[in-house]
């Protein structure tokens, strides 16, 4: 099977006053058709920048290198104009804050209509019908009335549904979701994630989901990639990574999630804080916080090594990490 999206050696740097800062460092991954990929990491790990780099949605100070192959075309080398037809057309994006991602002064139907006008050739009456259909699709009832309302008349969860409706207007084949549920409370979060999954099935889309919440990854993603300091440190099928974390950072992350229904045990925490992007440690960038670290970790950067057909990690001490066991056990 050929991947829907293939990212290779993606590197994003920002030029700031004091020089260049590397936010995304040599990131490669692939998304299969219909697959949900979770990009996981702490704040500042570069997961959101990675997602935005795919569509080049970054300030002008950003330099993006590498290749993002979408249907045989490289999005990084594409002209702005070509890229605009891909953005919101084949590839759509939803954002973390449904409160601010909608234009406050335009009624909802206009915002859906705008995407339809840009990316489809539907007539005015077809667009109205499509807008109602989309509202049904994302589970907003009473579409004719709701379409005339403004974003402030919707609750947070409903706004995220509207955002999804706009993003889905032109039948995208890939949905990029930047922490779509972080700003929502837990019950709404669950509804939105279920909605995204059911839409994935209905519309046969792929999804790249950026999140810091491993619970979300466990319930929604097929594959996951763990990011630390701008690099992917471990990637694999979710079940495999959860059962056998092979990078000390992944293991630490998994250990820091509280779980109900098991015997009470002490939560693990990862000592220290993630490095600032302007002062990333030499060697394995995780070594100052790593309990497994040895001299080699301080000296050289580990390469991604396959653990199995679908699982790879960039750690010199995978064996010892695996031997230490998964803090969440077999799923």
């Amino acid at each position: 099977m050929t991947p829907a999206l293939e990212v290779s050696h993606l590197t994003t740097q920002f030029t700031s006053g004091s020089g260049k800062v590397t936010a995304v460092d040599d990131v490669s991954f692939a998304v299969m058709p219909g697959q949900v990929l979770g990009l996981v990491g702490e704040s500042g790990s570069g997961k959101s920048v990675t997602l935005r780099s795919l569509l080049r949605l970054l300030p002008r100070t950003a330099q993006i290198e590498g290749r993002v192959i979408w249907q045989g075309q490289d999005l990084i080398g594409m002209s702005e104009k070509q890229l605009r037809s891909v953005r919101g057309g084949d590839i759509s994006m939803i954002f973390q804050e449904p409160m601010t991602a909608l234009n406050p002064v335009l009624p909802v139907w206009l915002q859906i209509d705008e995407n339809l006008r840009t990316h489809t050739s539907l007539s005015a009456s077809e667009r109205v019908a499509r807008a109602r259909e989309l509202m049904d699709l994302v589970g907003i009832s009473d579409a004719p009335r709701r379409l005339l309302q403004y974003p402030h008349q919707f609750s947070g969860g409903m706004r995220q549904r509207v955002m999804i409706a706009i993003a889905l207007a032109s039948n995208p084949k890939l949905l990029l979701a930047d922490e779509p549920t972080t700003a929502l409370d837990v019950t709404i979060q669950d509804q939105i994630l279920k909605l995204i999954l059911s839409l994935r099935d209905k519309l046969a889309m792929s999804v790249v989901l950026v999140t810091h919440d491993l619970g979300v990854v466990a319930t929604t993603c097929d594959h996951m990639a763990v990011m630390y300091a701008g690099r992917i440190v471990e990637t694999g099928a979710v079940s495999s990574v959860f059962a056998q974390p092979s990078h000390a950072y992944t293991r630490g992350l998994l250990g820091s999630v509280p779980r109900a229904g098991t015997q009470r045990s002490q939560l693990l925490s990862i000592e220290g804080t993630p490095p600032s992007l302007s002062a990333i440690p030499k060697g394995c960038s995780f070594h100052p916080r790593c309990e497994f670290a040895t001299d080699i970790c301080r000296r050289s950067t580990p390469a991604m090594l396959p653990q199995s057909a679908t699982h790879a990690a960039a750690c010199f001490h995978s064996d010892r990490v695996i031997a230490a066991g998964s803090p969440v056990g077999a799923q």
């Binding site: 037809s85 991602a101 234009n103 406050p104």
Partner: protein, 278 residues
């Protein structure tokens, strides 16, 4: 409770300044559109039997040195001074908004150049610059509008640009880009409607300033030309008679104060309304 809330009288939701300002400007507009209905006499007809007559039953605001009825002239001047308020601000507003939106969105070099242009313009006192331009172009209302347009857009552009710079960083601007919309569409469809309110508040204040300026230029002989009834012109005509016939200058002056006050109050009221809404 909800019933009580929805039935709350609309008048109480309007800030006081907006209400009073609205009444003043509403009345001014009525006078401006139908001056002949309210003015008892022809504003430019001479009456040599009533030269410099003090206020009386026949001439409520007295007459000037040509026997023209001051009240009628003040009323007819509403037409021209409200026009000045409109045309003196609409061009700066439109040009400034366009430039400000584009520059604010583009940022970088465009914004730096724009910043220097703004500095250069505001280095000169506003009135001096306008008078200089009108002197070059020649006196008259049209040239005055041109001068105001050339100078005044800077202030609007600065306000709108700084607002756009805030708005363009918000998620919905990113969302627009993520949907593949063109920069023009994002600027004018999405950002500008969210950025324009401070510009409109300033527009109201600016209308008051435009009336003052129009009158100043009229007074100096650079704006509306005699015998047109315009407050500044009237004040200039009356200045030689200040000690003997104060009414020629004072009543147009009161009209300037009241309309200026009206616009300022509307501006204040709108600012207040927007503050409480946020």
């Amino acid at each position: 409770m909800t019933v009580a809330l929805t039935r709350r009288p609309v008048l109480r939701l309007i800030p006081r300044p907006l209400l009073f300002g609205g009444i003043l400007i509403g009345l001014s507009l009525v006078l401006a559109v139908f001056p002949a209905v309210f003015a008892p006499y022809d504003p430019i007809a001479f009456d040599y039997n009533a030269l410099l007559a003090p206020p009386s039953r026949a001439h409520l605001m007295g007459t000037d040195n040509f026997g023209r009825d001051v009240l009628s002239r003040v009323i007819h001047a509403f037409t021209i001074d409200m026009q000045i308020a409109f045309f003196g601000t609409v061009f700066p507003f439109v040009i400034g908004t366009l430039v400000g939106a584009l520059v604010g969105y583009a940022g970088g070099t465009a914004d730096a150049v724009f910043g220097r242009v703004v500095d250069a313009v505001i280095t000169f006192p506003f009135l001096v610059l306008v008078i200089a331009i009108v002197s070059v172009l020649g006196p008259g209302l049209v040239n005055m509008y041109i001068a105001l347009g050339v100078v005044g857009w800077v202030f609007y552009a600065r306000i709108i640009a700084s607002e756009i710079k805030i708005q363009k960083r918000l998620d919905y601007a990113d969302a627009g880009r993520a949907m593949g919309y063109t920069p023009m569409r994002i600027i004018f469809r999405h950002l500008l409607p969210n950025a324009i309110t401070p510009g409109i508040v300033y527009l109201m204040t600016d209308m008051a300033l435009a009336i003052l300026l129009g009158s100043s230029l009229g007074y100096l002989g650079l704006g509306a030309q005699p015998p047109t009834a315009e407050w500044g012109v009237q004040i200039a005509e009356g200045k030689n008679f200040m000690s003997t016939a104060w009414w020629i200058s004072v009543f147009p002056g009161i009209a300037i104060v009241l309309t200026g006050l009206g616009f300022s109050l509307i501006g204040d009221g709108m600012a207040e309304l927007l503050r409480t809404r946020k």
